[in-house]
Amino acid sequence: MASGSVANQEGKVMLLGFWCSPFVKRVEWALKFKGVEYDYVEEDLTNKSTLLLTSNPIHKKVPVLIHNGNPIVESLVIIEYIDETWKQNPILPQDPYERAMARFWANFIEQKVTEPARDALLSQGEQQEKKVKEIKEAMEVVEGEAKAKLNDKTIFFGGENGVGYVDIVLGWTCNWMETVEEVGGFKVLDPESQPQFHKWMANFREVPFIKPTLGPKEKLVEYFRMVRQACLGLVANK
């Protein structure tokens, strides 16, 4: 049985993050969903803290969750850790088969939407076109799954429990995808061919613990534009 207030649980929770990282945001959503209190530490990725480098020596990336002094890295691994440590408001389904399906879709999203989107943001020409094509094909599959699983009563992939694992993993698209499109100069979102997905995005944006975390798009665009230009070695156009 879940114990009372989560604030009484032993052990400090710290999250090393970066303001515009969708991977960090996912972890925050999981923590907020569970009502877990945590200290947030903003990292300067151009000058990584000793804590970050010792907590994640292999990848040296955010997010890093530190609980009871133990570091956990990789956003999907962190989310499963959060779900297993704090039992209230389950994120993953209880049934093993449903869990396997949730993990399957999370994997699919990462491999076929998230990673190609990052690659498309940081590339151009033929290389970018290839990635954009991959994302478009993946979005067809996502739309198909949305059509199959969602309706007026069930608005999230978590089903009757509301927001779930797949929603949290896919959630970055509701804010960052438009940014990536604008900065990268391509289009993968299409309300006409993706009506269910767009409904899902609109609903996700309105979730009370999600809405305040979605910052202004202009700031994201400015930052990602700088990253893209740095990556492509382009001179900034003023």
């Binding site: 609980h67 009871n68 990789e74 691994v77 499963e80 297993e84 088969y97 993990r103």
Partner: protein
């Protein structure tokens, strides 16, 4: 209730090997169907329409895809015997991290090892050994990555060792010399029936590898 377990598999697949080991650890009876990847069966295409890949586990008619997901499913359904993942959430997180690392890094580097030549191949060899060094450090003095018990990370890494023998011959480098602790670990794992019966014969694998190189037009 009578359990029906079918595994759609391809004998040289590292991912298939993982699942075979997991099923054997749990003492489960299953039907193994060998797929011809150049001529995929209607069953495979029906059970894994999105990726069309093996392995696929079909449990009482329901398909589960992706080897890491399958192994976790097996562990959660048949939880009363030979746990593959630790029970502590932090230890589980570490196990998932390393399994991910192995599947992403070693898989990519392994491919580079046999597909490249000269300087590029030398660079890949170096990186591969660096990754194995990290794994050796993680293993430390424990008998298995899982500690006293064989588990998730051990069964993820063993299939790569199966292929490693092939790469060693093909690219002339020796893991025994460079990473002796891992070799000791792999021999310990091979003493388990679940592992030795799940991994292919080295000669057979090497012959398959030569065939694979021919198909890819590599000498």
């Amino acid at each position: 209730m009578a359990e029906e377990i079918i595994l759609l598999d391809f004998w040289p697949s590292m991912f298939g090997m993982k699942v075979r080991i997991a099923l054997a650890e749990k003492g489960l009876k299953y039907e193994r169907k060998e797929e011809d990847l150049l001529n995929k069966s209607p069953l495979l295409l029906e059970m894994n329409p999105i990726h069309k890949k093996v392995p696929v586990l079909i449990h009482n008619g329901k398909p589960i895809c992706e080897s890491q997901i399958i192994v976790q499913y097996i562990d959660e359904v048949w939880k009363d015997k030979s746990p593959l993942l630790p029970s502590d959430p932090y230890e589980r997180a570490k196990a998932r991290f390393w399994a991910d690392y192995i599947d992403k890094k070693l898989h990519l580097l392994g491919g580079k090892l046999w597909r490249t030549k000269g300087e590029e191949q030398e660079a890949s060899k170096k990186e591969y050994l660096e990754c194995l060094k990290l794994l050796e450090e993680e293993l430390g003095d424990k008998p298995y990555f899982g500690g006293e018990n064989f588990g998730f990370v051990d069964l993820t890494l063993m299939p790569y060792f199966s292929w490693l023998h092939v790469f060693e011959i093909a690219t002339n480098f020796s893991v025994e010399v460079e990473r002796p602790k891992l070799i000791t670990w792999s021999k310990r794992c091979m003493e388990r029936d679940s592992v030795s019966t799940s991994l292919p014969d080295h000669q057979k694998l090497y012959d398959f590898f030569l065939q694979l190189k021919k198909w890819h037009g590599i000498e």
